[in-house]
């Protein structure tokens, strides 16, 4: 499993780096990891169906209990099938969808591969930190692919919206994970679930985790980002924003539900949110004219249904959720691909602009009708099986308010049926107004087989599984049992006889047809959907507030005065140690003075040049005197037996003097004229304070050692363990190498910052000079 993740990472990064040369071939290369994943999964199928679990563990920071724990059970396998299977189809599809001229198609393919790897990580992770990392990686890759067309302000704003909402939810989730881990003493999800902790802290942790779940799965009131995410190319939407990434939330919900559904707020909250999302999303979908947006709101609605089912958390509901997860992935991916085909061949995906299509389009129509019928829950299709299971589970859950929930479910299903019809009608049999847009082709050519193939490949299982759902019995049973060992074995049937679920299905379908036929008279009623609060205003308001606050604080803290900056830094350095000095630190007495002539001579040079640097008026001379104090220090290091330190100090002094000179060339030759006493007094006071505190602190700290020095141990272990005789170097690159890694990162950041700062005002020829901005507020506020 680890190898699969690494394969995704390597291939993905490789394509991102060299993708421009590969062009569309990058998409085929990107499909390789997905294909390998499917192949590997096939070899493990036997174990998984028997209820077996495959685990892998790799400890990387043992001291912190950080390990990469992976765990594949039947439910995770279901997700892996979606991720790798639909991924494969999307990569092949993308080869036809993207034209050679598409901006950065190579990078896009690489990012999609990286996404597939992160999503695989979410499905396989058993360690909460690994889960969190992969979870946020999916948010980041999603951000990059939505904003792939970085020249479009709309795409950038949508990408940022998605990132802030899902990333913010992820942060809340991380907090929840930490509380859970503290409560149970383990970061392994499987162990936490087995321990089934309870209590107030766990309740708070669950709220935090659910924030992550609900934002990721685009539940009300966080769903706004998903509609904006449709700015991404259609293959991306088909993959990330319907089949996989948005399922990460419900995936985690499914894992947690069997154990935590008994927590007081869980069922009422999740059932309410699920129902609200189902109805709200469905109502919005009913009024869209953009086919892709219609599907996006449909996805929101279906995710609401999944939240409802997994939120109920009963064994039946969880199993029904598994079926729905698979069914939705199949039909929604196919439908997105159909929209992409329409968009690509005709130049539009708006119901009002689509031209009439000729006979060659029949296979496309077949795929669309089949998948839309599955979405609507028509019999003999996979969606029907899923919906029957859902009705059955809700009725049998035996919880309070069942009939209200069932009523809402029927209403939402009716709406689903209505927008499914609207999709097919709008795409192929719609109003056919003559479009004024030049870009719309009046006689579109039907897609090539290679283009349609992937959609067909995804649509065929929808039909087959609808006819012979029995082949999935074992899989769904195993998946259900891996979530909740109490799950009964499942028998999926096309015909259960006339029961409550069938009656509900039939009435929902009839109501849906009626809703579509009568859409004009009830249009006003449907507008409720548009008026539901959608969180978009709260998002924008929040951003504005954040910017305003940041402005204020920056104005306050960064006032631009160098004397104040240095003053604050030095005073902090002088007064923070005072607390330690004044409490429980007796004066150890004056240290033994080192009186040999060499020391005294060097000390004299250091003190003299330091004084000179303070009083001299030419900047260059001051810098040189400053350098002399540094060389003096290194001479001291040298004669005190620290050649390594001395060497480093000499090199640093040399280079920093050169760099000072570089900057000094831009400054006046001399310091400002002698300033007034009122200005000089504070400087003298600060300087004296810093010097005294540092001196006293050094003496007191050296004389008040309470713990054994680690130096002896380091000296003893340097050669046997670090294989080096230079202890300083062994510390730097081995014992404290993590510190060094942090420090070089800081150095790199500082170097990049220096170049950016120095170049801020300059622009290459031909470009207007303007201050560099990374994110304009106007970008953010572009409504997706």
């Amino acid at each position: 499993m680890r190898a699969l993740l690494v394969l995704h990472l390597v291939v993905g990064l490789g394509i991102v780096a060299f993708g421009t040369r590969l062009g569309r071939r990058a998409l085929l290369l990107g499909a390789v990891p997905s294909a390998v994943t499917i192949g590997w999964l096939a070899t493990q199928l036997g174990t998984l169906l028997d209820g077996g679990v495959i685990t892998e563990s790799l400890t990387w920071v043992p001291a912190l209990g950080l390990s990469i724990d992976l765990r594949l059970d039947a439910f995770a396998a279901l997700m892996v099938v979606l991720i790798a299977g639909i991924g494969l189809a999307v990569f092949v599809y993308g080869r036809s969808y993207f034209s050679v001229t598409t901006a950065a198609v190579g990078r896009l393919a690489g990012l999609l591969t990286l996404f597939a790897g992160s999503m695989l990580g979410v499905a396989l992770a058993d360690h909460l930190i690994v889960l969190y990392t992969c979870w946020e990686l999916t948010s980041i890759t999603s951000y990059l692919v939505i904003g792939n067309d970085h020249t479009s302000a709309k795409a950038r704003a949508a990408a940022l919206h998605a990132l802030l909402i899902t990333g913010g939810g992820g942060l809340a989730m991380l907090g929840g994970f930490m509380v859970l881990a503290q409560e149970t003493g383990t970061y392994r999800l499987s162990e936490i679930l087995a321990a089934a902790p309870s209590g107030r802290a766990v309740g708070i942790a669950l709220v935090l985790v659910l924030l992550g779940v609900l934002t990721k799965s685009a539940q009300y009131p966080f769903h706004g980002w998903l509609a904006g995410a449709m700015a991404a190319p259609t293959p991306v939407s088909a993959y990330l924003h319907s089949a996989t990434m948005v399922k990460a939330g419900v995936y985690l919900l499914a894992r947690l539900a069997p154990v935590f559904a008994v927590v007081g707020f869980w069922r009422p909250a999740l059932v309410t949110i699920g129902l609200g999302t189902m109805l709200g999303g469905g109502l919005r979908a009913l009024r869209q004219t953009d086919l892709k947006l219609l599907l996006a709101f449909g996805t929101v609605s279906q995710l609401g249904l999944m939240t409802l089912l997994f939120g109920l958390g009963t064994p039946d509901a969880v199993t029904a959720g598994c079926v729905l997860l698979l069914a939705h992935g199949l039909f929604k991916a196919a439908l997105f691909m159909v929209v992409g085909i329409l968009d690509h061949q005709t130049g539009t995906r708006d119901i009002r602009e689509l031209p009439a299509l000729d006979r060659g389009w029949r296979p496309v129509i077949a795929v669309a009708v089949l998948s839309a019928a599955s979405m609507a829950g028509l019999p003999a299709l996979f969606g029907f099986i899923a919906k029957e299971a859902a009705y059955g589970a809700v009725i049998d859950a035996g919880l309070g308010g069942t009939w209200f929930v069932v009523g809402c479910l029927v209403a939402a299903s009716a709406i689903t049926t209505a927008y499914s019809i609207r999709f097919v009608w709008g795409a192929f049999y719609g109003p056919r107004l003559d479009s004024q847009r030049v870009s719309v082709s009046p006689h579109p050519r039907p897609p090539s087989l290679a283009f349609l193939g992937p959609a067909l490949a995804v649509a065929v299982p929808t039909a087959l599984l609808g006819l012979v759902p029995g082949v999935l019995d074992q899989t769904v049973t195993a998946a259900g049992r891996s979530l909740d060992s109490a799950a009964a074995s499942v028998h999926l049937l096309v015909w259960h006889g006339i029961n409550a679920a069938l009656v509900l299905s039939a009435s929902a379908i009839l109501a849906g047809v009626a809703l579509f036929v009568l859409r004009k008279p009830v249009d006003r009623l449907l507008r409720i959907g548009d008026r539901l609060p959608d969180g978009g205003d709260a998002y924008l308001g929040g951003l504005r507030l954040l910017n305003a606050t940041a402005d204020r604080i920056t104005g306050l803290v960064q006032n631009g005065s160098l004397p104040i900056y240095t003053g604050v830094i030095l005073l902090t350095a002088a007064f923070l140690p005072l607390a330690a000095l004044l409490t429980d630190s007796p004066w150890p007495g004056w240290p033994e003075p080192a009186v040999d002539p060499a020391n005294l001579l060097i000390a004299g040079v250091i003190i003299g040049s330091a004084l000179a640097a303070a009083v001299i008026r030419r900047r260059l001379s001051a810098v040189i005197f400053l350098g002399v104090t540094g060389y003096g220090m290194s001479a001291l290091f040298g004669i005190r037996g620290a050649p390594d330190l001395a060497l480093t100090q000499v090199a640093i002094e040399t280079l920093s003097t050169v760099m000072f000179v570089l900057v000094l060339r831009r400054l006046p030759d001399r310091f400002e004229r002698r300033s007034a006493v009122s200005l000089r007094a504070p400087r003298v006071i600060i300087a004296t304070a810093v010097a005294s505190v540092v001196f006293v602190f050094a003496v007191v700290a050296a004389g008040n050692r309470v713990a054994e020095p680690v130096a002896d141990e380091i000296v003893a272990r340097a050669y046997p363990e670090g294989h080096g005789r230079n202890i300083v170097n062994v510390i730097l690159v081995d014992f404290r190498a993590l510190d060094t890694a942090g420090e070089i990162t800081v150095l790199a950041a500082a170097a990049i910052g220096a170049v950016a700062l120095a170049r801020a005002g300059r622009r290459p020829p031909g470009q207007p000079s303007r201050p560099p901005t990374t994110t304009n507020l106007s970008d953010i506020e572009e409504r997706p």
């Binding site: 920071v61 760099m659 294989h723 690159v733």
Partner: protein, 162 residues
């Protein structure tokens, strides 16, 4: 001397120029020596990088930013990033062999001429530090090393287009 490819006239001192040419490569050798010897004697990647940086600084003093740019066909940030990457890859490599992150591995090899060579994976980490420091120095020259506008004999508008 060959024609000086700087955009603006620049006085070059022959003695300085010649000294730099003579000293540049020996100093680079010293910096490499410090890098490789660092694990057992005074030195290490950081100091080595700084000494190499000092050599670059000499080139800068003699010939300005163009002289420094001509030394390497890689951009400063590429060198900086390569260093960071090498260090982090070395740090995380043990993960792939089932060890904890940053675990040091000892290599002992018989090498012709040099005899038995004992190195550790930490040397690779140090190599990353070396490159990073060299990249850092180059980047600072890149940032502040060109002639300030006020000292330029050319009008500022021309200067801005450098």
């Amino acid at each position: 001397m060959t024609a000086i490819p700087t955009q603006r006239p620049m006085t070059r001192l022959v003695i300085l120029d010649r000294s730099v040419r003579v000293l540049f490569h020996p100093i680079l050798m010293v910096s490499l020596y410090l890098l490789f010897a660092g694990h057992n004697q005074p030195g290490g990647g950081f100091v080595g990088g700084l000494v190499a940086g000092a050599a670059l600084a000499m080139q800068f003093v003699a010939g300005g930013i163009d002289e420094v740019r001509r030394l390497s066909r890689f951009r400063p940030w590429t060198i900086l990033g390569t260093g960071l990457l090498v260090s982090f890859l070395t740090a995380s490599a043990p993960l792939f062999f089932g060890d904890a992150i940053l675990t040091t591995t000892l290599f002992i090899r018989e090498v012709p001429i040099l005899g038995t060579v004992k190195t550790t994976s930490a040397l690779l980490f140090d190599l990353g530090v070396y490159f990073l420091v060299v990249g850092l120095v180059l980047m600072i020259f890149e940032a502040f090393g060109d002639e300030p506008a006020s000292h330029s004999p050319h009008p500022p508008s021309h200067e801005a287009r450098r």
